[in-house]
């Protein structure tokens, strides 16, 4: 239980727990080799879609404002 801080003051039970946890520290899980490729693939298509979606959203906002102006309705509170 040693981080960059000074070592924690541990009770006997916490010291035993630390020895149990060493079992997990000694054998950390590792990601698959495909993780990086999956992230970058998703980032690429999300980036490609982002600008069109923002444009559609902006157009929808303009249309809504125009309709409100035309029909004289005030925005809902």
């Amino acid at each position: 239980m040693n981080g960059p801080d000074p070592p924690d003051e541990l009770s006997p039970a916490e010291r035993s727990l630390d020895r149990h946890l060493e079992l997990l520290r000694a054998d950390p899980p590792t990601p698959s080799t495909e993780l990086v490729a999956r992230v970058i693939h998703a980032a690429r298509w999300q980036r490609a879609l982002r600008h069109p979606l923002l444009a559609v959203s902006a157009i929808a906002g303009v249309i809504r404002d125009g309709m409100l102006l035309l029909f004289g309705a005030s925005p809902r509170r």
Binding site: P4, H20, P29, P31, V36, I40
Partner: protein, 201 residues
């Protein structure tokens, strides 16, 4: 003198590399973001795996990286990039847990599978070690999610208290107290079963 300089310069260099990669990513360089993912995939996956379990860790890791990608412009450099990324990862993991209904059933299945996998080809000591490890992971997942996150960040990933406070967005003064309670709860869970609490000789 050389040793002191080395210790001081190493974290700065790491932070500088991350900062440079963030800036290049923001400018549209996807290769720079790929380098960031490559640099931090280990710690993100470990934290995700310890909080949500191995079955969902890849999805949570991917979700965390994509959330980070879309929020890169909000990274101010007040904390290290790793701490900022771990905050996103922990939030993604906790969101995943809150959505998952039948967690305990899944976890038992995963633990059993981990122990059974290739059992016939492993020596007895290795089998016992794997069984203890699987049981301990299961008990860890028996903790409430906020305690689990604390324990993972401090006792498994060995983050500093300040990093944990930033990652979990809690006052620095609360971290030690909550960590003490988290450890106490896990000790109680392990003590419920003599096999789980006894350390192998």
């Amino acid at each position: 003198m050389r040793t002191r300089g080395w210790r001081i310069q190493m974290p700065l260099r790491r932070a500088d590399i991350d900062q440079s990669l963030v800036e290049r990513s923001l400018a549209g360089d996807l290769r720079a973001f790929e380098a960031l993912v490559e640099r931090h995939r280990g710690v993100v996956y470990r934290v995700a795996s310890r909080i949500v379990g191995a079955d969902a860790a890849e999805d949570v890791s991917q979700d965390a990286f994509l959330r980070a990608y879309h929020r890169l412009d909000r990274f101010r450099g007040e904390a290290s990039f790793r701490t900022w990324l771990l905050q996103i990862t922990t939030n993604a993991a906790l969101t995943h847990l809150s959505r998952r209904r039948d967690e305990s059933t899944d976890d038992h299945a995963v633990a059993d599978e981990a122990v059974d996998r290739d059992a016939s080809r492993q020596p007895v000591t290795e089998l016992e070690r794997r069984e203890r490890q699987a049981r301990l992971e299961l008990k860890l997942r028996g903790l409430r999610p906020d305690y689990r996150s604390l324990l993972v960040l401090r006792d498994l990933e060995q983050l500093s208290y300040e990093e944990i406070a930033q990652t979990l967005d809690m006052p620095l003064g609360s971290v030690k107290g909550r960590l003490h309670r988290a450890r106490g709860e896990l000790i109680d869970i392990l003590r419920n079963n003599t096999y789980d609490w006894e350390l192998p000789a």
